[in-house]
Each structure stands twice: as C-alpha cells, then as structure tokens.
Amino acid sequence: MREKISQVMGIFEELPGDAAPVGDVVAAGNAVSTKATEHRRVDGFPRAAGVFRGAGFSKDAVVAGDAVLPVLPALAELLPAGGLARGSVVAVDRSGLLCLALVAAASAAGAWCGVAGIPDLGVAAAAATGAEPARLLLVARPGPSWPQVVASMLEACEVVVVRPPARPSAQIRRRLEGVLRRGGGVLVAAGEWEGAPVRLRVDRRAWAGIGDGYGSLRACRAEVVAEGRGAVARPRRRWLWLPAPDGTVAPDETAAAGRAGFPGGVAAAAKASLRAAR
C-alpha cells in the first residue's frame, strides 16, 4: 500500500498542465472563479499543486490579492474554484479530518488559521495533513458571542473553522458573510450553514489495516461528495484517502482507475465480504 501512496504523491509532484484537475471546473462564470482561472493560466499549473510541493518554503504563497486560497490537490477537484474562494463559506458535514484537510494547504503556505468552537480538535491530525500548528489560533469555547469571536478571527486569519454551537440564524449568517466579503477570508463551517455555496460530506468510508481483533487503523478510503450551488449543483464525488497511512489526505487512485477494490488488502476485503454475506 505504501507504494501505492507514493505513486499518488508522485503524480502530484509532476502535475502537468493538462492534468490540472481544476481546468474544466471553472465554468460557472462567477467573478471569483474567473479571476482564479486567469491566475492559474499565468502560472501554468494549479496553485494548489505548487503549494503542496512547497509547503515549507513559500511564505508568500498566500498573497493578499489571490482570489483563491490553496487546498490539498486531493480536494481541489471537489471545489468549484479549485481552492477556497476568498469571501466564501464552505460547509463540511460531520467529518473532523475533512475540515482540517481543507485548511491544511493554506496553513502550510503561510496563512493563519483560526478555529472556534471545536474543543476536541485533533491538532496532531491537523499537523499530519500539512497544517502548521504554530499558525493555529484556537478558541475552544467561544460561548454565546461566537459570531463576534469569528469576526475578530477573520480580521487576523485567512481561514476560520467554526462549529456553531447552534444552527446559526439568518441574521448571524448575513453578518458574517458580510465580514467575509469585506475581509476576503474563508469560513469553513463544521456543521450546518444554510446557503453555503459548497457543502462537503463524507458519503461512505472503509478503514484499512484493521481486522477482527488484529492489526490497527492505517488508512481510510472515503467517498467525499461536494454539493451546493452553481458549478456544484450537480454533486461531485471523489474517492480520497482520508487519511492515507502517513496522515495526509490524497486522492485514491485505485478508485479513479476503476478498480473498485478494498484498500486494506486482501484480508480486509475478504473480511468485508464475509460481513456482507452474514
């Protein structure tokens, strides 16, 4: 399995222009994504890929003027803008790792990331996806004034992840969306956010490496669905390693190649089929 993963990584290191996973996506024609496209054209390859490779070196990879914040290559295909469009909200449904993976590339590229209302955030997992813990700002319990906390965070951080304590009212949503548009930040809502242009959720998942009393969790193959308005009005589905054995998040190329197999190897597959038969 390790070789498989390294193959996946290899693909992204020499990502050619025509294989850019975002090139065909930006058809919606809203202002933000067109701008992003232009930017990409100038570079010759998607921004996300560049950032992924240069997690350590490029401090200026997150430029204030960029319309799109980079995401991990595995997630770029799912998002209509190929990254986190500044001024927008991305809702993530019930997956801690997906939230962390969304902000990982931006954080690695030098962006500060605020997290509000998630006292159980796994910082070690965030670090494994590529996020830089030293640029995380955590407010575990923002209390009833969480919209103010998020607004304050958005003044300093490019990305803010928030788990609202309750379903946010229309008024709160409008206010925060206003702050987002003015400041150019990105809000990742871990939970319900009505009217979010993109919603990501994990549809199915299968763990590998663990059996009936033996092994240990090694990796998880998950089908992530992106839904929403505009370009993602027709849901997009991708199989991802969430996480891969090294903790990162990568596309699952076994699924892409049409080989519907179970990632845990023969044992896990046999086990799964046994369970299905039972």
């Binding site: 910082v123 700002l137 407010v139 663990i210 369970r275």
Partner: protein, 495 residues
Amino acid sequence: MKAALKTGSAGEPARTLAVWCPGWPEEDTGSAEARAFGQVVTVVEDFCPEVEVLRPGLCLLGARGPARYFGGEDALAQKVAGAVAARGFTCHTGVAGGQFAACLAARAACPGSSGRPGEPGEPGEPGGSGASSVVVPPGGNRQFLAAYPMHVLAGPALASQLARLGIKTLGDFAALPARDVASRFGAEGTAAQRVARGQEPRRLAAATPRADLSAALEFDPPVHAEPAAFAAKGLAEQLLAGLAARGLSCVRVRVEVTGADGRESTRLWRHDGLLSALAVAQRVRWQLDGWHPAQAGRDSGPADEGSGGITMLRLVPDQLVPDEGRQLGLWGDDLVSGRVERAAVRLQAMLGHESVAHPLLAGGRGPSEQVVLVPFGDVRDARFPADRPWPARVPPPAPATVYPVPLAARVIDAAGAPVTVTGRAVVSAPPDALMAGDSPWLAITAWAGPWPVTERWWDERNATRRARFQLVTEDGIAWLAALERGRWQIEARYD
C-alpha cells in the same frame, strides 16, 4: 579572605549564616503566623537573594559572598540581626562552617538561651556579649561544638546509648576513631560523627523564596471602571519598579479586580517584560470592559457606585524570570504578526487569557497528551518534547477528534455482556457493539487491541493503567477506546 575562599580547614563545610528568631511556631508551616516569617526572609534577602528557610523562625544563607561585600562575617552577622530587629522581631545570627554549627552559633547568640529541651546547656562561647551574633572562626567548628551535649546532634536512641558508654559531649564523640564508630553505629553514627567533627554531609540547597511582588490598591468608596483603570497606571509603575529592583521580569501579569458586590474577576495577561505601565493599565481597562458588559448604572453617576463599583485592584506578576532583556528579531518577529497578535489580544480581552490557545505538539502515548494548548502569548514550551520515542504510543494516523475529557462509553459482546480485559491482556469476548456518550448503540465491524499501557506507576497521582482498543463501527467511524478500571472511555474519534 583566603581562608574563606577555601571552604574552611579540615574539610569544614562552606561558611553559613543562620538567622534565628525565637518564638515562632516550629511545626505548623501552613499557619498565618508561619507565613508571616516571610517578612523576615524579605529583610534577609536584601543581603543575599538565596535564602533557605529551614522552618518558620530559622533560615540560612551562604555567608561567603555577602561577607566579602559587607565587610567581614562579623559585620554581616550584626547587620542582618540589626536589620531584622529593626522590623520588630527578636533575632540572633550566627556564622560558622555548615548548617548545624551555624544554627548552634545563632542559638548561642541568644543571651538567655533557654526554653527548648534541645537547647545547649552550656554554650561553648560566652555568647554575643550584647550584640546578638556569634561568629565561629573558620576552622574553629570542632572546638566550638566540642562542649555541646550529645543530644543536640543525635536522636534520643543514639544519644542515650552513647551516654551509657560514657560519651557525653560532641567533643568526646568526635574524638572516637571513625572506623570504630562506623562498625558500631553504622551509617547513622558515621554521619553524626562527621557533623560532630565540624564536617557536614549535606550542602546548602538554596531556593529562591517567593516574595510578594504584587501591587494592590483599595478604593474607598468604590469607583467605576474608568478611575480604576487610571489608578492602574500608577499601580503598574509600582509593580514594574519592584520587579526591576530585583532584576526580574514576568511572563504574565495577573489582574485581580474585586467588586463592591463581592464579584471577582481574575485574568492573566501576557507581559514578557515588554509592557509599559501604560500598556498594563490598558489591559486593566479591557478587563474592566469585559467584566461589566452592560452595567446599567455605569454612566449614571456616583449614585449607584455601591452596586457596580470596584473596591480593589491587584496586579500580581506571574512566572518570574530573570530579566535578561529581549532581543527582537532583526527582521521582526515573523512568527506572530502584529495583526494576529492584536486579534488574539482582543479575543483574550473578551474571553480571558486562557481561552485563546496556540497549540504546540508534544510527546506522549495517548492523542490527548500529544498536544499542549498554550495560552496565546505565553512561553511555548512542552514538558515532553515530541521528538522522543514513545514506545506503546497509539500508532498513526492521528485521530481528527480528540476529546478533552474522555467520553464515557459502553462496549458489549455478542451476548450482551460488558467486554472486559484480564490482567494478562486477554479480552473476555470480541466486542460487538459500542455506545459512545449519548449516541445510540452501534455495531462494531472491526476492532484491534487490547494494547495495555501502564504509565507512571511510580507516581501515585498520575499513574494510569489501561488497555486501548481501536473500534470501527457500522457508520464507518473509527474510535480510540480505552478500558480503565473496568470502565470504557472514548479518547478520540477518527472521522
């Protein structure tokens, strides 16, 4: 001076000054009276910063350095005694080689020298002749001690044994051949004889005691936030001056506000030796704003000062460190930009210093130990570094959700009985269903474990003994569960 530099003749221990104030409660170190001894220690600290308090009423300091500065041991002993006496305490000082002899010298300085059963009956020297200090010259330890009865040194058993053998004074005991003492009385006897000979097995362990460096101001009548914040500037100046006089700096400042209605507000603010008095006052102002978010009577004048007023303001330095100055990076402190710092400080004003965390990866076996949440602005320092091997740690990948407080859970086998693990790490039956917290029962599709972990068995309070499991439930979520003392807990979730 030469004699003082060599730590005395014949293996005599380092010169020590003992400060003895008779009449303090000796056992009860927790009482208010005992704590008041801190005042004496404060006075003594003016002579030497490293004072070892043996018990209330008796403290020690190394005499070598201060004696050179204050013009000799005699002068030092008298100055210390005089300074403490000037604060209204009876005080006797003694200088000798080592703790034991110095304490006896201080006792000898007391003209009456009576009261306690352990008191020497006939001091070797005639006493301080009016001046309340006695200095035993270097090399004179053995001679000074020789006249003391045996029981000042040894426990009652050894003393009575020696007395029956005809050995009544320390001088007699010291004169015995060391080999014979060792063979007859063992290690205890050898140590006692070393002391009786004026030698000392134990070194002075100087620890910096905590002096009260806080600055406080009471308001009578109670005042509003605005005047209190104004007064905070003067208070902060006082605090910083006190710290600077001792060459100290603090990492954080604790601001304590007490209201007339009994409410209290305590916050920690980052200081790092960087804040001016004005900046500290600014933080007090923020705290007061956060404390009275909507006081109705705030602007309506002094009529209702009694209800929302502030009666006391106290600034306490926290985490004292030596002030070594602070070198800013040539290109600026690029890790935390000003923009982020401003936002973080504003959030801290709103929610409290500890509510805004700046995480740091640390070492540990469980996922909750692998991260330290440092309050923003504090020194980022992990007690256990992350780059050490942690055998038996939970294998990667790391879970995305780590519960700060483990979730209570129940795990049952196919027959519905709770799953248990024996002392030899054998599972009673394969786990079949899991109930984590309030969630409904979920069927377990795969599991691994048990991985027994016994941590810190040498430390009663922090010892843990648990068996970890990884469980995958039917909804595709994986859990890190632990069984400790028969109770199942969910430590983390892989989601």
